[in-house]
C-alpha cells in the first residue's frame, strides 16, 4: 500500500469519478440519491454535459448546480425540462423502457447483481436490520436498458446471496431475466471504492474487471463475501485527473 501515501484523493472520490466516467453524453439516467446522484452530476460537469437526469420525485432533465440534498430538493424541479407527477414518472417514463441507465445504490449486493435494500437477516418478519425498503428500485432495475450500481465494497455488503431480493439483478444466473420477461439487461456494471465488476457474459456472475489505481486484487477479494473471479485481462482504473477532482470537489462544496 505504498501508493496510498502519494494519493491526493480518497477512495470515495475515485469511486464517484469512475462511476461518472461510465456515463456518456445524451444518455437518459434514472438517478438514485446519494452516490449515484453525485456520480451523475459529476458526469454532467465533466465529459457528459448533455446527460439527461431523471429523478423519481418527478423531474425530467434536471441540471442542478449543486448536489441535491434529497430526491425532492427544489433545485431538481427548478432546473428541470419538465416536472411531472410521481405516477407519471413510473408509468409514462420508466415502465415503457425510455431510460437508458438506472443508477442505483445498494445496502447488500450479491454475486449475481441482485440488490437488497429491505431487510438484513433471512426472517422478514423479525429482521436483524430493517432497511428503508424498495422505493423505485425494483422497477428501475427491471425497466432501464442497463443498471449501474455504485456502492462501497465490504464483505458484509457483498454477499453470496442477498437475504431479500428487492431489485432483481440476474437471479441465480444467466437467462433468468429473459425467463421473467424483464425488458432491461439488468446490472451490467458495479462500481465500488475498490474497483469495477461486470457480469460474466456466460454465467452473469459478477467478475472483477478493473481495480482502481493502488488497489490490489487481494484487497478486493477480502472485501467480497464470495469467491470473486477476476477477468483475464484485468485493467487498472486511471487515477482521477485534476479536472475531475476539481469538478467533484466544487460540486460537493457548492451550496
Amino acid at each position: 500500500m505504498t501508493a496510498t501515501v502519494e494519493r491526493t484523493y480518497t477512495s470515495d472520490e475515485m469511486m464517484s469519478i469512475a462511476a461518472a466516467r461510465a456515463l456518456t453524453g445524451g444518455q437518459r439516467v434514472f438517478v438514485g440519491i446519494g452516490l449515484p446522484s453525485t456520480a451523475a452530476n459529476l458526469a454532467r460537469r465533466t465529459h457528459a454535459e448533455d446527460l439527461v437526469l431523471i429523478y423519481e420525485s418527478g423531474t425530467l432533465g434536471s441540471k442542478p448546480t449543486r448536489l441535491p440534498a434529497s430526491i425532492g430538493d427544489g433545485i431538481l424541479a427548478d432546473t428541470a425540462d419538465a416536472v411531472i407527477s410521481v405516477p407519471e414518472v413510473f408509468n409514462y417514463w420508466l415502465q415503457p423502457g425510455r431510460i437508458d441507465v438506472g443508477f442505483l445504490g445498494a445496502a447488500q449486493l450479491d454475486k449475481f447483481g441482485n440488490i437488497n435494500t429491505t431487510v438484513i437477516g433471512t426472517d422478514y418478519a423479525d429482521p436483524k436490520v430493517r432497511l428503508p425498503g424498495a422505493g423505485g428500485a425494483p422497477e428501475i432495475a427491471a425497466s432501464c436498458h442497463e443498471v449501474y450500481v455504485v456502492v462501497r465494497q465490504s464483505k458484509r455488503s457483498f454477499v453470496e446471496q442477498v437475504d431479500f431480493i428487492t431489485s432483481f439483478g440476474h437471479g441465480r444466473g444467466k437467462g433468468e431475466r429473459e425467463k421473467l420477461g424483464l425488458p432491461g439487461a439488468g446490472p451490467t456494471l458495479v462500481i465500488t471504492d475498490l474497483g469495477v465488476m461486470r457480469p460474466d457474459p456466460e454465467t452473469a456472475e459478477l467478475v472483477l474487471t478493473q481495480v482502481h489505481e493502488g488497489v490490489t486484487v487481494e484487497q478486493v477479494k477480502e472485501a467480497t463475501g464470495w469467491d470473486l473471479k477476476v477477468a483475464p485481462e484485468l485493467e487498472t482504473t486511471p487515477p482521477p485527473t485534476e479536472a475531475e477532482l476539481q469538478a467533484l470537489r466544487e460540486l460537493k462544496a457548492a451550496k
Binding site: S70, D78, S85, G136, A137
Partner: protein, 297 residues
C-alpha cells in the same frame, strides 16, 4: 365545497381512531404540522399510508398512533434510518406495527386506481423480487389480449388524505406547484381530505406547473404557514436540511423522543397562524448524528 377551518378542528372532525390515513408529499410539501396535530389529539390504531414514511411518520409511529404502515420507502432521506419506525417493527415499541410493503411504482398506481374509482391497477412491477412473497396485496393478472402476465395491486382509498399546498382561495380551491408527487391522487382517492396551506388568498394567480384541486374535491382547508417544516413549500420556504440530521438525534432513543413529544407536541397548541415547531436554533442540535446510510431510494 371545502370548509375553511382551523387545523385543530379539521383533524378533530376528519381523523378518527382506527382510520386509514394518508399523509402525502414526496419530500416536498410534507404535511408535518397536520401529523403533529394528529399526535396531539392522541389518535390511535391508525393505518398509515405513505410512499415515503420519513420524519412525519417516525413521529406518528413513535407516539403510538399507528397499528399498521403501508409504504414503499421508509427512511430519513439523506441521513439514514427512522429509529422510531425500526423500534416499532423490531421491538413493538410503543405498540406493535404491522407493515405492508410495496415499491414506489406499486404505491403510485394504488393511489391512481383509488383516484380513478377502480378496484385495482396493473403494472409491470415486482418481477423477480421477494416482495410478493410477503405482501399479499401483490397479485398477477393476465392480459386478455396478449396473454401476458402483469402485476396487479389493489386501489388505496384512505378514509382521510392530508396534504400541504402553497395556497387556497377563499372558496377553498387549492393550488400547488413544484414537485407535486402523488398528492392529487391521494386526495381524490380518499373519502375525506384536508389540505393545509401556506396562505389563503383572494385569487390564485396561475403558476407554471400548477396543480389545482377544485374546492368541491376537498373536504377542509386550513391555513398553516410553514406547515411543511422541515420539508418545504416551493416559493415560500427552503428545506431545513439540518433538521433532518437533527431528527436522527431525537428519534434515536426513546427518552429523547419522549422529551421531544412532551415539549414540542403536547406542550404546544395546534399550529394556527404560525406552525408550532419553528425552525430550530443551533443550540438545540447538540446530538446531530452524521452517520449516513446511502441506499437506493
Amino acid at each position: 365545497m371545502a370548509e375553511i377551518t382551523s387545523l385543530r378542528d379539521a383533524v378533530a372532525q376528519l381523523v378518527h381512531d382506527g382510520d386509514t390515513v394518508a399523509l402525502e408529499g414526496f419530500t416536498h410539501l410534507i404535511p408535518h404540522a397536520a401529523g403533529q396535530e394528529i399526535i396531539r389529539q392522541r389518535r390511535r390504531d391508525l393505518t398509515l399510508v405513505r410512499m415515503t414514511p420519513d420524519i412525519v411518520y417516525d413521529q406518528l409511529i413513535g407516539a403510538g398512533c399507528a397499528k399498521k404502515l403501508i409504504f414503499s420507502w421508509g427512511g430519513n432521506p439523506g441521513v439514514g434510518s427512522l429509529h422510531r419506525f425500526r423500534d416499532a417493527v423490531q421491538n413493538s415499541w410503543p405498540v406493535p406495527l404491522e407493515i405492508e410493503e410495496h415499491s414506489h411504482a406499486g404505491m403510485a398506481n394504488r393511489y391512481v386506481a383509488g383516484a380513478s374509482g377502480l378496484p385495482f391497477a396493473v403494472l409491470r412491477g415486482y418481477r423477480g423480487t421477494d416482495l410478493p412473497k410477503h405482501t399479499d396485496t401483490i397479485k398477477t393478472i393476465t392480459c386478455p389480449f396478449t396473454g401476458e402476465e402483469l402485476a396487479a395491486v389493489p386501489a388505496i382509498n384512505p378514509d382521510v388524505s392530508i396534504i400541504h399546498a402553497q395556497r387556497a382561495d377563499r372558496a377553498g380551491n387549492v393550488q400547488m406547484w413544484g414537485l407535486v408527487g402523488v398528492q392529487k391522487e391521494a386526495v381524490l382517492a380518499a373519502k375525506r381530505s384536508l389540505v393545509t396551506v401556506e396562505e389563503i388568498v383572494d385569487e390564485l394567480t396561475p403558476m407554471p406547473g400548477q396543480v389545482i384541486l377544485p374546492t368541491w374535491a376537498v373536504t377542509a382547508v386550513a391555513e398553516v404557514p410553514n406547515g411543511a417544516h422541515p420539508s418545504y413549500a416551493a416559493g415560500y420556504s427552503e428545506r431545513d436540511n439540518e433538521y433532518y440530521a437533527y431528527w436522527d438525534s431525537i428519534g434515536r432513543e426513546r427518552d429523547s423522543f419522549q422529551r421531544w413529544l412532551d415539549e414540542k407536541v403536547f406542550g404546544t397548541e395546534a399550529a394556527t397562524s404560525d406552525h408550532g415547531e419553528a425552525p430550530l436554533v443551533d443550540a438545540d442540535r447538540v446530538r446531530v448524528s452524521r452517520k449516513t446510510q446511502e441506499v437506493a431510494q
